[in-house]
Symmetry: C2
Subunit: 452 residues, 2 copies
């Protein structure tokens, strides 16, 4: 049932293209969905891609364009005339059309828009282009079905019939008042069940979740998830209905947001995939490694400061990496909880202080467990009591401190409108490593003074 792009399919297709066998190539792709065709075009050369593209139905081409990888689409658009792009833009839903045009160089944008035949489509797109792409306005499409509060059912059906020509899929029928203000929805069910002469005002449902055009995309996603919405109407500041967002676009926002957080924690700075080139992968990963290495160098300088101590008590070297890494581990746990809580809007209503106190409690519990465990291990495996006490006590302090640091940093970043996920990146882990080493040596000096 599902198309799966295999290497065999691809190499056979390439052979057909080498023979310029349009009939076979066309037959192989004509029954595929736009998403599947786009997957093929993502894998072949631009020239081969154009060969396939030209064999496609005009109707399906714009959708294929929209489904391409961004860099492949950019190359494709460069190879198309403005007139041709304008034709495709005419066939797309307004939200996709606006996205497509926004990827063109500024100079070309108006060139294309001028050549869009349907003037209403062109003006809708121009309107959508004014919104920030990370807001409800940037996600919405203009296509929707709306009926007036005061219409009768038969009139409603007549008007819907007219509007439906412009709209591909009808998700919800919106109800507006005489000033075009959104007042509710009317379900197909109600329209089917109600007697012929009913007015919309008698059967419509006032419950409707709308968002304003300037609502951030992430908030739209949170609302859609919380209230299980499949389509969300967008209103302007006078509550006039100006568009609607479908949930597939919302899912893209969620997916992007979570990927970004995941990548941040794993130390990757671009949206890369394993299919990207080694050079691109290296470029996305090297900066974080260098930052982490910089942090490690700072840590090495802490150790250098205490080299004298290490010469006298060389066994202290044994637990250095352990104490450094435990700070990093605890810090990541705390930061990740805050970052995820911010993303899912589940942080709760209490302020920073109660969170820090709770983190302190968690740190005391976990710190106690870890420091008792390591004390037992170190002592029973014959390490000097001074060293055993040092690693045990620094474990406790590092866990407490890293939990505190890991909680307060993402909250602080958020307050200054920076990305809290930065806290899960190498900066904080490295800071925790360094501070852990510092505590270890300070405590070691005390303990060795005491026990030796």
């Amino acid at each position: 049932m599902q198309f799966e792009l295999t290497s065999e399919f691809l190499s056979a297709l390439r052979e057909d293209m080498e023979r310029l066998d349009s009939t076979t190539v066309a037959a192989k792709v004509e029954d595929l969905y736009p998403q599947d065709i786009a997957e093929i075009l993502d894998e072949v050369t631009l020239q081969e891609g154009q060969f396939i593209f030209r064999l496609l139905d005009e109707e399906i081409r714009p959708e294929v364009l929209m489904e391409l990888d961004e860099d492949v689409r950019k190359r494709f658009l460069r190879s198309l005339s403005s007139e041709e792009i304008a034709q495709y833009v005419d066939l797309l839903d307004t939200d996709d059309a606006a996205d497509l045009i926004s990827e063109l160089p500024e100079a070309r944008q108006s060139e294309v828009l001028d050549q869009v035949e349907d003037e209403e489509q062109a003006s809708d797109i121009a309107d959508l282009l004014t919104y920030d792409e990370d807001t409800a306005g940037g996600l919405m499409a203009k296509e929707l079905i709306k009926v007036n509060l005061n219409w009768s059912l038969p009139r409603c059906v007549r008007e819907m019939r007219k509007q439906a020509e412009e709209v591909d899929t009808v998700y919800t029928v919106y109800v507006v008042d005489d000033n075009d203000r959104l007042v509710g929805t009317v379900s197909l069910k109600q329209m089917l069940i109600a007697p012929e002469r009913t007015l919309i005002r008698d059967i419509y449902d006032e419950d409707v979740h709308a968002v304003e055009a300037h609502t951030p995309a992430e908030e739209v996603a949170q609302i859609a998830e919380k209230y299980d919405l499949v389509v969300i109407p967008v209103v302007d500041q006078w509550h006039r209905l100006i568009g609607r967002i479908t949930v597939d676009d919302v899912m893209d926002v969620v997916r992007e947001e979570t990927s970004k957080d995941y990548q941040m924690m794993s130390g990757i700075s671009e949206n890369i995939e394993t299919t990207d080139s080694a050079f691109i992968m290296s470029r996305a990963r090297l900066p974080w490694l260098l930052i982490a290495m910089g942090g490690g160098i700072l840590g090495s300088q802490v150790i250098e400061q205490y080299e004298g101590q290490l010469r006298v008590f060389p066994e202290m070297a044994i637990f250095m990496p352990l104490v450094a890494s435990m700070g990093g581990n605890v810090g990541i746990q705390s930061s990740a909880l805050i970052v995820q809580g911010l993303a899912n809007n589940t942080l709760g209503r209490d302020g920073i202080l109660p969170k820090l106190l709770k983190e302190l409690a968690v740190g005391l519990l976990n710190g106690l467990a870890c420091s008792v465990a390591i004390l037992g291990y170190a002592y029973f495996f014959g390490h000097p009591i001074a060293l055993s006490m040092t690693i045990s006590l620094s474990m406790m302090i590092v866990i407490l401190f890293a939990g505190f640091f890991g909680t307060i940093v993402p909250l602080g970043l958020k307050r200054f409108d920076l990305d809290p996920a930065l806290a899960t990146g190498p900066f904080i882990t490295t800071a925790n490593d360094i501070i852990g080493l510092f505590f270890y040596f300070v405590i070691g000096r005390m303990m060795y003074g005491f026990f030796v």
Copy 2:
């Protein structure tokens, strides 16, 4: 427009409840959405929750139940009679009803089902309960609108009117043949535009993405995301239409899956939130800390093995934590890329070998950059040439090795049907730490033999 649960709202509400002021409490909650009411009930005691619950419209109660946190809902269900639960089950959509019943103890499940008044609803639910919850069958609902290929439009509308009484929201009208096999969909648009006497077979759309009941939930989510589906029909092995999945349930799957991967990487073993108690948080975090500590102890034993070397060249201690942590960092990068590629189905079609070769290339590039940088640093800041060469060379080897290890482990876990995200947890990081230390000392012995 959005309800925001504040501490002020909550404490005022609690005061109203203490005065047993039902009227005020009812007035405060009656206009809220089920999700918002559930948020309140999640925050108050069971007794307070029941007070509020009893004041709600019977119609809204089942939805509020469904929106509660799982543990709160469990407590609520225990306090309700089977008869009452059966009433709510009757009002819910079949997918939610089945989820609700599956949370009851086995013995109570049939007790409740027996008391569901609508026998069709009861048998639909019993049917849904037979599917694994992580499959399409476990996500689907039975409520849908279907029409026969051979019906005329007026007959179609008559039949839809009958079916609509059972179905709350009409997403898509499915078209089936005489054997109840799914053959396509018919859009509201086509029904509105077509002339009165048209047959469905003349206007329906054959393009429909269906999934079989046993399709894993994650695959359903991938299909929904790829093809931008808002609702997905579910068929049995004979392609008969047996249910439909809405995208909000798919989004929950995506959210759960990505949270799980995120938590795995941050070293958290349960689905916890910052609002959970310190004890629960400690329980979810401590196991990973102990595992990481165990790994750190193994690392410390590697160092112990080379204590003699450290006594002679104590300056070798300086770069120990750096070399250990770089192994961990690179390993996480590689594993995270694979885990994310598996989750998003973007790994590409090539096998393990090309991936390892690419990782090798990335490792060479990044390893070269890092080892040159650290060589420069160590040499110019006056460290002995033997030490400088040791840290530089081990950096290169650790980065190469950790990249290899980080790539092959998640792919191997996947092959044995284990969760590849385990590779981003502390096991591999710790293994990389240890192996990094080992390389460092082995190389150190060689270098000091050579240069000193």
